[in-house]
Symmetry: D3
Subunit: 134 residues, 6 copies
Amino acid sequence: MYVLAVSDHIMIAHSFTGEIFGPAQALHGATYGVEVEFRRAELDRDGLVCDIGLALKTLREVLGELNYRNLDELPELRGKNTTTEFVAGEIFRRMQVRIATGAVGPGTAEALASMRVVLRESPVAWASFEGALR
Amino acid sequence: MYVLAVSDHIMIAHSFTGEIFGPAQALHGATYGVEVEFRRAELDRDGLVCDIGLALKTLREVLGELNYRNLDELPELRGKNTTTEFVAGEIFRRMQVRIATGAVGPGTAEALASMRVVLRESPVAWASFEGALR
Amino acid sequence: MYVLAVSDHIMIAHSFTGEIFGPAQALHGATYGVEVEFRRAELDRDGLVCDIGLALKTLREVLGELNYRNLDELPELRGKNTTTEFVAGEIFRRMQVRIATGAVGPGTAEALASMRVVLRESPVAWASFEGALR
Amino acid sequence: MYVLAVSDHIMIAHSFTGEIFGPAQALHGATYGVEVEFRRAELDRDGLVCDIGLALKTLREVLGELNYRNLDELPELRGKNTTTEFVAGEIFRRMQVRIATGAVGPGTAEALASMRVVLRESPVAWASFEGALR
Amino acid sequence: MYVLAVSDHIMIAHSFTGEIFGPAQALHGATYGVEVEFRRAELDRDGLVCDIGLALKTLREVLGELNYRNLDELPELRGKNTTTEFVAGEIFRRMQVRIATGAVGPGTAEALASMRVVLRESPVAWASFEGALR
Amino acid sequence: MYVLAVSDHIMIAHSFTGEIFGPAQALHGATYGVEVEFRRAELDRDGLVCDIGLALKTLREVLGELNYRNLDELPELRGKNTTTEFVAGEIFRRMQVRIATGAVGPGTAEALASMRVVLRESPVAWASFEGALR
């Protein structure tokens, strides 16, 4: 299995609901280092998992919807605790929609087996979501 | 599949038995950066894989049994070569016992599918142990 | 010249005032990896720049005043753009006050020549403030 | 499952063929940080996945065939786009041949379940190839 | 003294002239992680060392002159061994020219005291050039 | 000012004497990532600060005197607390002696202005020693 991974980052504000979150119930924020891994069994005829330029561009577009925002105010995330693991899943779903419509290259969506999104939250914590693309 | 990972570190002394270890047969030591990954299929109702505070606390307790110690002198490790891969497995087993008794939250033990323990030993080597929790 | 450095991190929310900040004028946040370097010409009789346990404890106390907070709401920072470089300076000043009253050990304040505070803001940016302690 | 991983690096020149590569069609180069992960279900009687010294030596030999070279001029790579993912696969195959003939220790080849080769290409991109060894 | 640092990277090919370079006399290449540190005594009225967006843009422009190139073929570098330390100096000089003409903001050139350019060449080597800007 | 830096690592055991060290009074150990920075005002005629191959070789020789050892048993370190900052100074002094006798190249000792030795001890602590070479 081949993997190609690209990374970028976002800086967001948010707060959590629930006593389990302790001091993180207050409005605070995070820099998330974001890595997306694309997996497929065989390389394409150019020797690629996918076009790395398109992969970086697609990731930047998805992250652009969240970057420099207070996640508490995004209508589509209302009522959700935007934990690192949840945001990893959310970025996965937004990437998946774009990939399905050809964002990382014609024919690539069909060839990719799975994808993993990793969010680096701090020197001592990270989270990820991984799922099949087919 | 969602993953939440936390990290900490320990500083230990030990020696190895067997010619295969060359100069590492002498008493020496290591800083191990330790990462524990918790995996589950769905997030809980708070949007979490598990309580990150409890995860860090449980890891610190397990590591406290090894930190600033000469592993050659720990009765429960007698006769073992405490290689990086072995210690990864040992930390897995000690975490597993605590998780089973609710250390990372009530109900979480049942929800976690698997766990991975990674030990960073040097800039050029690391080891891990991964296993199912159910 | 000897240096001892310790690190920790904080997760904060804030916004900036001024067109120069572009999208960062909106409320957003950051994880700051924070490193503090202590410098002195000669080691003390224990072979130390300073007590590393006290250094970590003092840093944690200073960071505790900022961690999980919206910096826009802290009275003492009102009217300031809490840029990464400004926050580095602010942490320097708060560390300096505590060091002067013996927080990192009796006699250490007099022996330390200078200090540097580094804030890692993202994979592509960091800032620092450095100054004399005597 | 236990994993032992070792790392090293190479510095190579190459160019790519195909419009999809844009400016990377020109002769350029890369530093690849190379990590090789060895996986097996149980440790050997010494408590090892494999002899870490032999693992590092074998990796160095394989990388020696590529290091400080223009990959465009290597006869065995003619007609290939030596993308990061392709080179990960190539290093996997070269390691696999040597492992099969005992390079990482007698009896180890039979015990290893799988291997993964990761290439760190830049701060924002990496690739890997993973496959079974039996 | 305040510092603001930004980073980016380039991928280049080159060769060296002289027996001292051993195998690196052959055409090979490198990924250089490039960090530029800007230093000044006091922050501006916005709380900044300089406009971080302009700093990243200026660095990208300078690196664009070298990225995906064979440095052996650049007329302005003819007859030079483009060692990591030399390239650090070269990037310093190209940044300095742009800063002097206002690239990182009006009035900033006069306020900056010095600059340092760091190039990360491999996991075991880096080089830098530092100089005054006034 | 130009800098060239190289890195390697060691794994040692040791203990500390004095109540200030708390649990680190017990025999434990550390992996030290070791970086040595060489500084000079002008590059030599090859475009170098010094021969990077000789720099790595000299560092490896110096580290070979400490690697896989219990520092408590080295006669030349008797009575010393081998703190991270002390060991940084010790490596500096051992490098300095070798540099003075031509270990990093003929004529280089005279050209180098200063040197810095950095030891990475854990994810949250590092130390260094810096001094003039002339």
